[in-house]
Symmetry: C2
Subunit: 226 residues, 2 copies
DNA sequence: TGTGTTATCCATAGATCTATGGATAACGAA
DNA sequence: TTCGTTATCCATAGATCTATGGATAACACA
């Protein structure tokens, strides 16, 4: 059949791709990567965040490191892991895209929890930029504050979802709120929007989340500077 | 540690993503997917192209179908497989991007075979569009002809790499040749360019290949129509 | 109703992962 | 030096994949 053989040397190439694919075999590893796309974390913190034993977490991280998907930084007795590149986060995004397009179950799962914030479109990144310039929106980062510090949308305020109810008064009741979180598979922002609407606020989710914002080449603020 | 628990329901989500990841565990499966992103093929043809036994190939295809990454079309006693969506091809592309960014070995492998066509940048898709309008380039599809029929760049001529030497005279010696193939990991176009240059022709590769062209939303011609 | 094609189904030996407890290593602080 | 901390290393039982031969199913065509 035509020429397939001259494609030969590529067996090696596909082998390399598979090496990366093997990392994505395991739900917890994907979760770790997703988390690491939000900023660096210690092994300890990752274990807590994913509800795994320390040794197991460490083992998974070793695998990811061997495949060069993550890198580390040592600080005293601590080791901080981070995603090795933008492309890695892009890969997770792609994976999510396929899942959303192909697995009815995903749609289903997302819809179930997302139902309260449904009925309104998410706001696009470019529209948000315009609205921010006009100054008539409050941009709300509802991720854990460590993730906010590791990088957030310029001008956004940080109120982790769990504190949102208590700090509701800090948000101008007249302004529309645009909430964002980790990405299209993360439910923090939709939950925040649901809560806000219950309290009579006008609120919407941003399309996608922080990694996608970064990948779009838009500006990112660090630390507690707005 | 801050709020991680409210992220709960997502365990299910990551499970779904992992389901897709499991397909990418195996070099041959990635090769199959890559092939299917060029157009549909029968089990038989896929087995031949990837040098696997029919039963093994079929088994792999079942796995990919279960994960909804590929779909089938029956025709008599034949079954034709195809990629289930654009996103699937995008996922393979992402995987390649990560590999290129992170695995030195990949760079190495690519460089080894690519060396002859190095030293010249690849031409971008937008530049090619301009040049085609000007009419001073020959666009050359060097993939197997079945893949050309399944979709090619408008105006491109089809000369599978293996026939290139014999049909060299069919190409205007005055024009610059832009060759393309399956994508950045495919070596057909670089090899074609190397051959052309050896014969004193002016030739370059297109950036990426057919799937990326399609993903960029550019027009695609079918069958033998130019 | 036979026969040849093209695929899938099935069972299974072998090869590969995964989670985990316990030991070890590298530090920082007393 | 001696403890706590934070991680990695190691060995291993259990759980999961993978490749393949042989049987079976669905068709096309005499």
């Amino acid at each position: 059949m035509d020429n397939e053989s001259s494609y030969s040397g590529s067996a090696l190439l596909y082998e390399q791709l598979a090496r990366i694919g093997k990392v994505l075999t395991h739900a917890k590893r994907i979760e770790l990567l997703d988390l690491l796309c939000q900023g660096e974390r210690s092994v300890d913190a990752l274990a807590a965040a994913t509800a795994m034993k320390l040794t197991t977490t460490s083992a998974h991280l070793q695998v990811m490191r061997a495949a060069r998907l993550v890198e580390i930084r040592r600080e005293g007795t601590r080791v901080y892991y981070r995603a090795a590149s933008e492309e890695v986060c892009g890969l997770i995004t792609s994976l999510g895209d396929v899942a959303k397009a192909r697995l009815a179950e995903v749609e289903q799962i997302l819809r179930e929890i997302d139902s309260d914030s449904m009925g309104t479109e998410r706001i696009t990144r470019s529209e948000l930029l315009v609205r921010v310039r006009q100054g008539d929106v409050v941009v709300l980062d509802v991720r854990p504050s460590t993730e906010y510090y590791a990088g957030h949308i310029p001008g956004a305020i940080s109120i982790p979802l769990e504190h949102l109810e208590a700090e509701l008064l800090a948000i101008d009741p007249a302004a529309e709120v645009v909430a964002y979180c980790r990405g299209p598979l993360c439910l923090l922002a939709p939950q925040a929007v649901a809560l806000l609407r219950e309290r009579g606020r006008s609120a919407r989710c941003l399309e996608d989340g922080m990694p996608e914002w970064r990948q779009a080449g838009l500006p990112v603020s660090l630390g507690d500077q707005r």
